[in-house]
């Protein structure tokens, strides 16, 4: 064997090992979820869930309050997306298309807000929401996640809008459309992919959030899916099959959404950071 062949084989072996290292935990979650109860806690692991069963999923879905957790998570995530999208779109449209005094300061505010360490703001947020009698209320989480996601929403939408030539709107205006019509019929259709990507990002953020949901909600019926999963020892004991089935159910929508937008995720954060 030549040196080149040895090198090729070494690189491929490293590649296979890396593929395995990154995929295995997710595979192990899904595979445990589909295993027969007797095949999970074995001293020599069974690597294939055969014959597969959906018993673990049935167990997870039938745990007390599961429908409540699912509904809370969905209501909170979808409301967050809608709120952030409407408010963010207005601001993004303004900063991308109009020149006005204070525009740069506003963008700086967006960047700073995006960097706000929400983990450190837990205590004052808790106290403010307590003052407002919003503790243990679903709207408290919607409001919190709205602030979490708004800066990114504005920043991302501003980028997408800037990519749409202003001449298109001008042409519509020349043809007698008013500004709203120009926006509705010209900008919005072109912006659709950007809107989808941005809302998926906001949805994932809200869907995954744990700390605030854990602190702000007190009644079990108001928990979200992450809070439920975090207490899996109480909820499932040592039933790893049920725990992994619940984790799979929780992760699946995120995975699907993520695959849809992952191309845009890389560039968004670090755009323009390479010296050409």
């Amino acid at each position: 064997m030549t040196r080149r062949q040895v090198r090729r084989i070494a690189i491929n072996a490293l590649g296979v090992f890396t593929i395995f290292a990154f995929a295995f935990p997710v595979y192990w979650m899904a595979s445990t979820a589909f295993k027969q109860p007797g095949d999970i806690q074995t001293y020599v692991p069974k690597f294939l869930p055969f014959p597969p069963t959906i018993d673990n999923f049935t167990t997870a879905v039938n745990r007390p309050f599961f429908p409540d957790y699912l509904r809370n998570s969905l209501v909170i995530s979808i409301s967050t997306v809608l709120l952030a999208l409407v408010v963010g779109l207005m601001a993004a449209m303004a900063v991308a298309r109009a020149r006005f005094r204070g525009r740069k300061s506003f963008l700086l505010l967006v960047v700073v807000a995006q960097m706000a360490p929400f983990e450190a703001l837990l205590i004052p947020m808790y106290l403010v929401l307590r003052q407002a009698n919003l503790l243990n209320q679903i709207p408290a989480l919607i409001l919190t996640y709205f602030i979490f996601t708004l800066p990114f929403t504005i920043w991302a939408l501003r980028g997408f809008i800037a990519g749409i030539p202003a001449e298109l709107e001008e042409a519509a205006l020349v043809d007698g459309a008013n500004r709203f019509q120009a926006f509705w019929h010209v900008v919005l259709p072109l912006l659709a992919p950007g809107l989808v990507a941005t809302s998926i990002f906001a949805f994932i953020t809200a869907w995954n959030e744990f700390l605030y949901a854990y602190v702000l909600m007190r009644d079990t019926a108001n928990f979200t899916l992450p809070v439920w999963l975090a207490t899996f020892r109480t909820a499932f004991g040592t039933d790893w099959g049920g725990t992994m089935a619940a984790s799979t159910l929780f992760t699946l929508p995120v995975l699907v959404f993520f695959l849809l937008i992952q191309n845009r995720m890389v560039g968004g954060v670090t755009a323009g950071a390479v010296k050409g």
Binding site: L14, F22, L107, L121, I123, L127, F183
Partner: protein, 328 residues
């Protein structure tokens, strides 16, 4: 309020109708002023969110950090100013210093691990053939997309002392000795090890993909020119690839430092700061003092110290961000 029936959105195309220098007709100044104000209308909801919903809590954190604020003060709505007493209390507390040092060390280790392996994976992506590269990309996306909470739960199952697949694998390989019933969560260091692995597993894909995109965006002419001049592969990597990637590398390092410094979910889900408080970091400490211990003033002081420490990384990061985003 409507001017020319077009101001509903308050939005004005950048290139639309050059009217800057054309002075408005007499008597329309009021309309022009109104129109100018209307331009700010779409910003109002966002400004409200930033200044009130976000700004007020930030301000409150600073204010409360100078107060004695516990459950009693909260219920009685009394305000007890105590100056720098909260800060003095935490700075006097040797536990706080231990936790702060631990948090910095934990962050530095995670960032180094993430950046090192992330860079290697980025280079590996370039070196692999088409199919293995696709497979690697998919498995990286799987790790990246997994919610932090799910990952924390999965890793506890992987590292379970009795039936965990990791203990079985290590025992079977045999080099490291017998890991049957080995408990990974018995000591702070070992627990941190699992948490770091879990954080790196999720953080590496983003770093690897970003660096890979960075490498691909380096103009190929530069490589060709270097080759024509007779540069070796190694020289090309050191003289072209590395310098071009430096700004991106810095940004990724800053971002990882910010994320890892304030991480809560993974640490809390794995062992709630245990065993015996050995994996308590500043974020966990603030939670334990503030929410669990109801010492809001003290916890706010901890939060302010956290933000000050973060600012050391944040400020250069934001400056770099603004510099690279030249067309604000």
């Amino acid at each position: 309020m409507m001017v020319e029936g077009q101001a509903e959105t308050g939005i004005e195309p950048v290139l639309a109708r050059p009217r800057r220098n054309g002075a408005p007709a007499r008597g329309r100044t009021a309309a022009v002023a109104a129109r100018r104000l209307l331009r700010y209308l779409p910003l109002l909801p966002s400004l409200f969110a930033f200044l009130v919903l976000l700004g007020y809590p930030v301000l409150l954190a600073v204010v409360i950090s100078f107060q004695k604020m516990g459950l009693r003060e909260l219920v009685q709505r009394s305000t007890v100013w105590i100056g720098f007493e909260n800060y003095a209390a935490i700075l006097r507390d040797p536990t706080f210093w231990a936790i702060a040092a631990r948090t910095v060390a934990f962050t530095a280790f995670n960032v180094a691990l993430t950046m090192l392996i992330g860079t290697l994976v980025a280079l590996l992506l370039g070196a692999l053939g088409r199919w293995l590269r696709l497979a690697l990309s998919i498995s990286l996306i799987l790790a990246w997309a997994t919610p932090a909470l799910t990952a924390s739960v999965i890793f506890q199952w992987l590292f379970d002392s009795k039936f965990g697949v990791v203990n079985w694998a290590l025992t079977s390989i045999g080099i490291a000795g017998d890991y049957t019933n080995h408990s990974w969560f018995a000591t702070g260091l070992s627990t941190f090890g699992v948490i770091s692995l879990l954080i790196a597993w999720q953080a590496i894909p983003f770093v690897a993909f970003s660096l890979r995109a960075g490498i691909l965006s380096i103009p190929t002419e530069q490589y060709e020119a270097a080759r024509v001049d007779g540069a070796t592969d190694r020289a090309i990597f050191r003289r072209i690839t590395l310098p071009s990637l430096l700004p991106l590398f810095m940004i990724l390092t800053f971002l990882s430092a910010i994320w890892d410094f304030k991480v809560f979910t993974q640490i809390w889900t794995v062992r709630q700061g245990g065993p015996a408080g050995e994996t308590v970091t500043l974020a966990i400490y603030a939670y334990l003092k503030g929410i669990a211990g109801a010492q809001y003033g003290l916890a706010s002081a901890v939060a302010v110290v956290m933000v000050v420490l973060l600012a050391l990384v944040l400020i250069p990061y934001i400056r770099m961000m603004l510099k690279t985003q030249d067309a604000l």
